[in-house]
Amino acid sequence: MNLYFDNSATSFPKPPQVAEAVEFYLNRLGGPYGRSAYSRSVSVSAEVEKCRDLLAEMLNAGDSSKIIFTPNATQAINIVLKGKNLSGTKILISHLEHNAVMRTLKHLQNTAGIIPVYFPSEKDGRIIPEKIHEVLSPEICLAVVNHQSNVNGVIQPAEEIKKQLGSIPLLTDMAQSAGKNKISADKSGIEYIALTGHKSLFGPTGTGALFIKNPELITPLIHGGTGSRSDSTDMPEFCPDMFEAGTLNIAGIFGLSASLQNLPHSLHTSGDYLHLLENISEIENIRIYSAENFQYQGDVFSITCCGMDSSELGGRLFSEFGIETRIGLHCAPAAHEYLGTYPEGTVRISISPYHSQNDFNFLYDALKKIAGQKN
């Protein structure tokens, strides 16, 4: 039985090859990326570049050198938001943004006078592409979209959104959706894609990446050694080096490379997942927060139980049934405000391919029992 329903925080389990690859690097291979010319270093560098190629292939990004390794999606987002000159401009954002975006924008609001404006959206937060033109203005210099909400799982139509934005650059936060809900950087023209390795890609924590279509438009966030142009105290002006100062998380990248080559096959069908959502939404006293249309539903949704605090509901799921979920605001207060669940928050349930229909049934039965005994 897999009772871990907190995969939006970090996925578990991982494909076994991930730990094997990390162990191989730490215990048997070792060595630096790109700093030396002996065979150990060449092998390490080749594996890092292979991982970069795999990410570029996944995003259909064309030139792999435009994939930058970062420690997480948050830093990838910060590179774009702080590396562009956005002073005094408007930034178009969705209603379902994570604090990785919201806190960075708040900082820029205070220090650079940027003004956030919102995409027109449905009640579940899904952006309405055909209405985007109503909010466009010449002051908008960037748009940011959380590709899959980490609260209700709504998947945004990123490629359609980019089409409507025209020349306005789009930053797509794929922290929850990379590898699952595919988008093509090349075909769509999306300028920036931020992702993390430890959630939907099943890699280790501390891994992430950023795709930058036009690197020359971004000032690096971090400065330091790269192993290239070592005679100069200026940062290199080519990719990926200009954004990769300091030693990379090589052990993590080995694990990420292994996960990308061994993504798990799902133990459940989309029909099983739909059935779970429908069943839960019919439980008396339970309210579900998910996409209005299942076509746009990602692998996470939220629930509340009438008359019961989310911490009590989440606590009982664990103490009485061993079910692990995440309670509260999920680092997304703006999304909760939009969905009407602020400040109480929700219980978030995030599934993975390692869940079977039996796991879903167990979760459903547990919720039914708790909701039925709420008094």
Binding site: S39, V42, S45, E49, G227
Partner: protein
């Protein structure tokens, strides 16, 4: 022997990949300090023109240092 240098690690690894696939003999060496500090790794080989063709076909940019002697 000719030494080829590259702007970064990624280009060296891509060069290695295509040279192995082409069956051209080469050695990855630490870039001699007298040549450059571009990157820790360079490629040394006696098959200058084959390497040049291979790298050009694969759109890998490089610098050439003729008749380098250790």
């Amino acid at each position: 022997m000719t030494v080829f240098t590259f702007k970064n690690t990624r280009d060296v690894i891509n060069a290695e990949k295509c040279l192995i696939a082409s069956g051209i003999s080469f050695t990855i060496i630490p870039v001699p300090r007298s040549i450059s500090s571009e990157c820790g790794m360079g490629i040394e080989s006696g098959f200058e023109s084959q390497i040049e063709n291979c790298l050009s076909e694969n759109k890998i940019s490089f610098n050439k240092h003729y008749d380098y002697k250790k």
